[in-house]
Amino acid sequence: MTSPVLNVSNLVKRFPTGRSGVFVNAVNGVDLSIAPGETLGMVGESGSGKSTIGRAVLRLTEPTEGKITFDSRDITAIPERQMRPLRRDMQMVFQDPWSALNPRMRIGDLIAEPMKLHLDLSKSERENKTIDLANRVHLRPEFLRRHSADLSGGQLQRVCIARAIATNPKLIVLDEPTSSLDLSVRAEILDLLTEIREQTSAAMLFISHDLGTVKLISDRIVVLYLGSVVESARTEELFRNPAHPYSQSLLSAHLPADPNAKLSRHILKGEVPSPINLPSGCTFRTRCPVAKDFCEREVPKPHQIGTSGHEANCLRIPDGGNRITPSEVA
């Protein structure tokens, strides 16, 4: 097996709150691995730590603990000077394209910027490549002379994607790249990302709260809750056979855009607890419909399910009590 592009082990990130000894526990011991060319979807609700993980693997946020290996190299603690050349191989696309682009630069210069920083190209080579990139993201060449204020959200997100692929990176982190876009525009961007995935060998970490979107684009999905991975499986496997009670309720809360689809729902009570005071034992136990006494004391470890690499962190899996019974709703 080829070595992964990215390997994260026991990643922990705590943010100080301003009061001494009190921390926001954003990420609590996350293990991840992405193979070359693979698209890993990361889903979770707000506060589950998905964006923090996405930023930490690129060292845009300094991890508190843990080890990050990129392309077989430990990058956890190397200084920014040595980090710079590596950034060529790791790119990011953000949620909000309006604030991700400098409004005073022309679109052409924005697309050329990463090449200017990372690649040794002549001016004309760079210009040719800019036009080529614009073509690849289906942006008409006349846009290259305009500014970001002249473009729509969908077009700006294409510019961001063009920037991200300009240096042929090995890993692209996409943090909610379609959440701020209208439905039809979202569909176009997903199309484009699929195309790019086929053209390049770049691995992708696709962060989203929307299960429908993640399902379309990911090979494998990890589900996060309160800064911990609760389940990890191949996409079809997760949707067919979610093992963790949280994944099950997350899938059941999803509303398919089809009035004929029968919903079998289990709606969780309450809200996500504060990451400042994490519940002891299993962090999901306060909302879990099948929690037992021991869930308060023991921290769940990953359980293998089958042979396809499906893992879930639930203490009720050994006794078979991890299934929640959904109530039928028309």
Partner: protein, 331 residues
């Protein structure tokens, strides 16, 4: 008589440009619909299609340069457009309530939430404040806020997004409205919380016969929580009808592309998607506003499209509704 009857509502943004020439953005163009008590109507459409503007026009909440230039809004037999501001104030917040998209900026940051809730009740009831306070606690309980007595003393900044949204819903329901307008009531909330709030609202329409307008981007919400759907494009309703009819048999090319763009139906690399930009409201194309983006457009589309009934309750505004070539291509 229906609870809400909106007919040919037209709202324009009228302003002057840098050369002092009058510019008119035709934001709403002949919007007509009716809503019966106890029913839920879902409005969908892309950004700028006029969903929120329709709600604001109904409630008389427009600010210049937006102005209603034509049409009528009848609520419970009363003409809201002709009504003096004081009478309108007596209805808003009482018989017609609104839940807006951003809960955090809609609460008064300097007033405890219990007082904000009691205030809206007392303003309309004129009764003793103690009655209003009791009512506030009841409603907080009803929308699923735990420990209402203590929570009533919270400040808005102490609430999570889901809690703030619940407070806003409680506030809208304080006076038992006949009509609730919910503008993106769950956008920005987590899916598990979204489900709780939608179930709550749906339950209220069933229990109290309240009518509801839900404005959303999410076709999943409309599919499962609405009785009827109105699809908006460039300030007009291009297709409307019972949810099941419209989803099973979408007739307008825009509706078809919208349904084809949902994650469930989306074919990666497929051709059913609608490209292009929303039309320029300052300079709408003649005839059908979709024709510059519609793959079925023909010469006839430069003339205004007719409203065609597909059945008694389902209609579509397209030259080709109910017949080829546009018919049924997304299925």
């Amino acid at each position: 008589m229906s609870l809400l009857e909106v007919e040919n509502l037209r709202t324009h943004f009228i302003s002057r440009d840098i050369d002092n020439q009058i510019r008119v953005a035709q934001a709403l163009n002949d919007v007509s619909f009716t809503l019966e008590a106890g029913k839920v109507l879902g409005f969908v459409g892309e950004t700028g299609a006029g969903k929120s503007l329709t709600a604001q026009s109904i409630c008389g909440l427009l600010r210049p340069p937006a102005r209603i230039v034509g049409g009528s809004v009848f609520f419970d037999g009363q003409d809201l457009r002709e009504m003096p501001e004081d009478d309108l104030n007596a209805i808003r917040g009482d018989q017609i309530a609104m839940v807006v998209q951003n809960p955090r900026t809609s609460l008064d940051p300097l007033t405890r939430i219990g007082d904000q809730l009691a205030r809206i009740h007392q303003t309309h009831s004129g009764g003793p404040i103690s009655t209003s306070r009791e009512r506030a606690l009841e409603m907080m309980e009803a929308v699923g806020i735990p420990d209402p007595t203590n929570r009533a003393k919270s400040w808005p900044h102490e609430l999570s997004g889901g809690m703030a949204q619940r407070v806003l819903i409680a506030m809208a329901l304080m006076n038992n409205p006949k009509l609730l307008i919910a503008d993106e009531p769950t956008t920005g909330l987590d899916v598990t919380v979204q489900a709780q709030i939608l179930d709550l609202l749906k339950g209220l329409t069933e229990r109290f016969g309240m009518a509801m307008i839900v404005i959303t981007h999410d076709l999943g919400i409309v599919a499962h929580y609405s009785d009827e759907i109105a699809v908006m494009f460039a300030g007009t309703i291009v297709e409307a009808g019972p949810v099941v009819d419209v989803f099973n048999n979408p007739q307008h090319p825009y509706t078809q592309s919208l349904i084809a763009s949902t994650p469930e139906k989306l074919q990666i690399g497929g051709s059913a998607k609608l490209g292009g930009q929303p039309p320029d409201l300052y300079n709408l194309p003649s005839g059908c506003p979709l024709r510059t983006r519609c793959s079925f457009a023909q010469e006839i589309c430069a003339t205004p499209p007719p409203r065609r009934q597909i059945n008694d309750t389902h209609y579509s505004v397209c030259h080709f509704s109910g017949k080829s070539p546009a018919n049924g291509s997304a299925s």
